[in-house]
Symmetry: D2
């Protein structure tokens, strides 16, 4: 087993998914994952046969695993010393401190969308700016929402050129495995107007001038985006052309609400469970084909985002960009997705 | 007790509220309400001291009340014969048939937003086209959503002139008293794109070119609109000016999510319950003041709509328009709202 | 305006309701309510015409109202000095400290069910132990759940004698005006087994040996109790007899899920809104008549509890007990309920 | 590929899961599955490489697949003619008609818990009455709820003997992939009291006298049972003994809400997703270890039921019973579960 040695710092919702996706790749191995203490989540690392390390280097923390069912191979520094690149899947806000550690260790590093663009000064989305990320020291894979916007808007922009976009994000209030957050029966607008969500796309994609509004609603399974895109006049496209562009775009799925029997995010996720990926994940962005309407220069559509997993394959591609082992994003995406697919069938 | 004799045909969610609001007016009396059969809802008519009639004229239907706790004074025709105007609060789709009945009886009539504009050829919103409705034979009070749009957009248009608007409607899935509808845990887009909701505004308001997208979410209490309005250049307004326009607009309330402690529709409805109207209703459209942002020519804001009640006072004003007893909409609104307020304090 | 001067310390969910209920009584006046600072909730005190005081006596706190829209008449001590009894509606856990203040001030006091029985050593429920509370210095009105259990179980026990009861409580996760709490899509058992909820009944009612289990579910409007009561053999009752006992019990409503069209708590609360009390409250415990089954000695039934309001009239009765102005609980209940009813019709 | 040829009639929520579980077995093959028409669900059969048949034999229905992406090998009769046993996974109520078909075709058959016990006169649960089902012509695998009760109560009864049980079932309102059902914000009691759910256990297990009450709540992921079991006096067990009995019971998982961080069904299902079965299924019944309390003769505990999947392995075992290929239920369970486990790792 050879390949790029990938450390995963943090083994929660995103970290466990990224670990499994990296394990499936032919050109990478997971050198280790970290946990703060000997909790229930460690069992999964054992099941995957991945070496476990402590999230930090303090001897006290490391000793906290003694006498538990789980044994660690050392602290974060030990893990970094046997790795080529680290994917930071720690909860938001820890990034600043971790960034310092990675720079000191001289290791390449990938953050998640919970961190700010300014931390690394460069961000990543497979379909948009893979080539800009080739060989860089550190980057940030953008958030689930930004990834979703890039997947459907960037291929359009490549065809029609500059666009202006308004997006309303209807966001799930809590993840499926989280019983603490609400609201139970309310709609909660994000009162910072416009919201930060949409413009984050501009950190990875040029020529898309986007603004967004956001609300949180009592559901756990997916975000939905209601998108209004103003195409340049003379674009020459029909609604069918737009659907056809997305059909040829990796990691975008388009199905009909009415004829495929998928009227809501409930049925989208059920379709995803049928596909059979671990956790019932949907790496693809889902577009309702019968909800797409191009009227003159104005394109309107809905897309659904599986907030727990759409960024997972992006992290794999980002490793290839940083390690400069695959220059063509489409090739990387193809290897990533095929390897994941083969690993679970 | 004198005044315009108002029949209310249908005594459900809207009918019962309209009845109570009409009862509070100095220039109207409720001549009667209708029920299909001797159900639990009849008790409320009795409590309000309003004569009860059967929804239709068939002797069988009328006789179905015999032996129940509730007695009726006759069928629909009997009610119409002692009334000057009828407010149709029947469930959607019955309108066509009822329209025929009203025309035959030669009685003025007001439908709700569940019916199409084409039924009457004219629609009604207090703040927008009261004067057009003076003396007409029949009209349609627009839906809760359209009423909400009219309340905040029309006063703006009066200041700045022609506008183009995009609205995303995040709709409650079921009313609070309804345990049949879902979804429990999903977001359901309205796949007719654009949706019919926004453009309905153009049946009552000129010079507002509006398009909308809509989703249903698992909450019962309010709709929320995320609105992007493009003001004409040279409008000369600031965000504070916009808030000030709404402060001077009847039936619009603006409060701060952060400093007033109203981050979601849950707290909006709690504030409404504190006001103390029957059913905890909120006749006003609620705008989060700290969610309003005017950036160049683009105005963005969120508003919340109490779907069960915002059209209630509009129906009262519509009576005054049709009966031609008050030509100035602001005067009518003032009488309506003050009378309602006095009736419950 | 004369009568017992009732101070209400805390003006939130319970406090505002108790204030309005006390205001409706012929033999009481609200001497004042307290707020921590000049927040949005103060507006309601103004609307009710009730003097406002600061929750504590520190000059800094009191001064925090200066320059706001709300003016206070002093601190808590000032309020207590012009009152005969204080109803403590502060959030849970503050009770201990407040108890000390009340004892020092020598004022009679009533706590809510969030405090422990041990704080006062005596608890209160109108239908169960009013006479034991006559003239005491301080008491605790039991929680919404315990009040609900007392309402239906005590009148039964009076007929049949000693009972053993198992209750499963399906609890609402958050109040309607609260958008912070979850879960959005889960059932959360109370893992302290048996739970503390049921046995609290034994602080106010003898000869009912009760145990309970509890879960929280994603709804905001009501708790539901699934109750299994073991009547003594030879009880001689039928299911109809049980229903008849509850018909003659104040503050218990029994309706049919099927024939009255009330299949769930959604329709129960809609019925309550029709009654027209402020906030759409339901002071009564709701029993589904077609869900009551007495099979041999085993009685099974469901009841729904409006957690925001069922204890409100109990607080009014408790004032009469402590001030020793009405010895007969049924007379007090009758005055309380009739006065409330008249105040809003 | 040899083995018992298993037809699966109906390929929805249960059918697709049973098909995948049967495919994993060393001694069975899936001879085919049925669909009513060429819908989206057919894709899954293709992906699994399972022959597709039409749900009935009418030439019109069969022809409806012509020209679609999906081709069928014939009608139901054709499928039965190449099968040894059929597992009926049709929606409830179709059972009666299908039963007739199976009897005419002379094929062994297994129904699901949506059908009545009377249809086959015998029911099935692996841990309770496997031996009674050896070689029978037809049986019914009991519902998800009954299966859950059998899993934890039968092993207890084997130790302590006869028991009396009261169970309150807090049921999910809709499955995760269903966006039609409600309620959104209510608790809905099953007003047939006692409910039919608990007593269904007595169709597979002797000496457990059980009664139940049920409510539906707005969640999609699991049912929860609140159970009170009265053990015979002199049972000699401690709470730890009970937990130890369940540890040695197949298809029961016990974890701690507090120390394992699993306070609600949200975290239970997240743990299940970590295990990695298709659809994130949990075949096991989940018991909160810190929610188990044995007090004298009264045992109280909570268990959570994954309604979509707990009966899946039971269907596999039922095939072995009917075909008389494995007499010992524990051996069958071991083969079933090990084969499923190996198939996805």
């Amino acid at each position: 087993m050879t390949g790029v040695r990938v450390a995963i710092n943090g083994f929660g919702t995103i970290g466990k998914r990224v670990a499994k996706a990296v394990q499936a790749q032919p050109d990478m191995i997971v050198s280790g994952v970290t946990k703060t203490g000997p909790s229930h989540g460690c069992a999964l690392a054992n099941r995957y046969g991945i070496p476990l390390y402590c999230t930090d280097d303090s001897p006290d923390r490391i000793r906290s695993f003694d006498g538990s069912e789980y044994s660690v191979s050392g602290g974060l520094s030990d893990l970094l010393s046997v790795s080529d690149v680290v994917i930071d899947c720690a909860p938001g806000k820890v990034g600043q401190k971790n960034h310092h550690t990675y720079l000191e260790a001289g290791i390449k590093h990938i953050f998640q969308g919970g961190e700010k663009h300014e931390l690394t000064g460069i961000s990543y989305t497979s379909c948009s700016n893979h080539s800009q990320n080739l060989g860089v020291m550190g980057t940030r894979v953008v958030s689930c929402n930004t990834t979703g916007l890039a997947r459907t808007l960037v291929p359009l922009r490549e065809v029609v050129g500059e666009m202006r976009v308004e997006c309303t994000m209807i966001r799930r209030a809590a993840d499926p495995g989280d019983s603490n957050k609400g609201p139970v029966n309310a709609i909660k607008p994000v009162l910072k107007v416009p919201s930060h969500h949409g413009p984050d796309l501009m950190t990875v994609a040029e020529k898309i001038d986007i603004t967004s509004l956001a609300v949180a609603v009592p559901t756990t399974i997916m975000h939905v985006h209601a998108i209004v895109a103003y195409l340049p006049s003379g674009h020459g496209l029909t609604t069918a052309d737009v659907l056809s562009i997305w059909e040829n775009t990796p990691r975008v799925i388009s199905m009909s609400g009415s004829s495929d029997g998928i009227p809501s995010t409930a049925e989208v996720m059920e379709m995803a469970r049928d596909i059979g990926r671990p956790w019932g994940d949907l790496h693809e962005i889902f577009v309702w084909s019968d909800g797409v309407s191009l009227d003159g220069n104005v394109l309107r559509y809905f897309q659904a985002i599986h907030q727990e997993s759409d960024v997972v394959p992006e992290n794999v591609d980002a490793v290839r960009a940083l390690m400069d082992i695959e220059q063509d994003w489409r090739v990387s995406v193809d290897i990533t997705d095929r390897s994941i697919k083969e690993s679970f069938s």
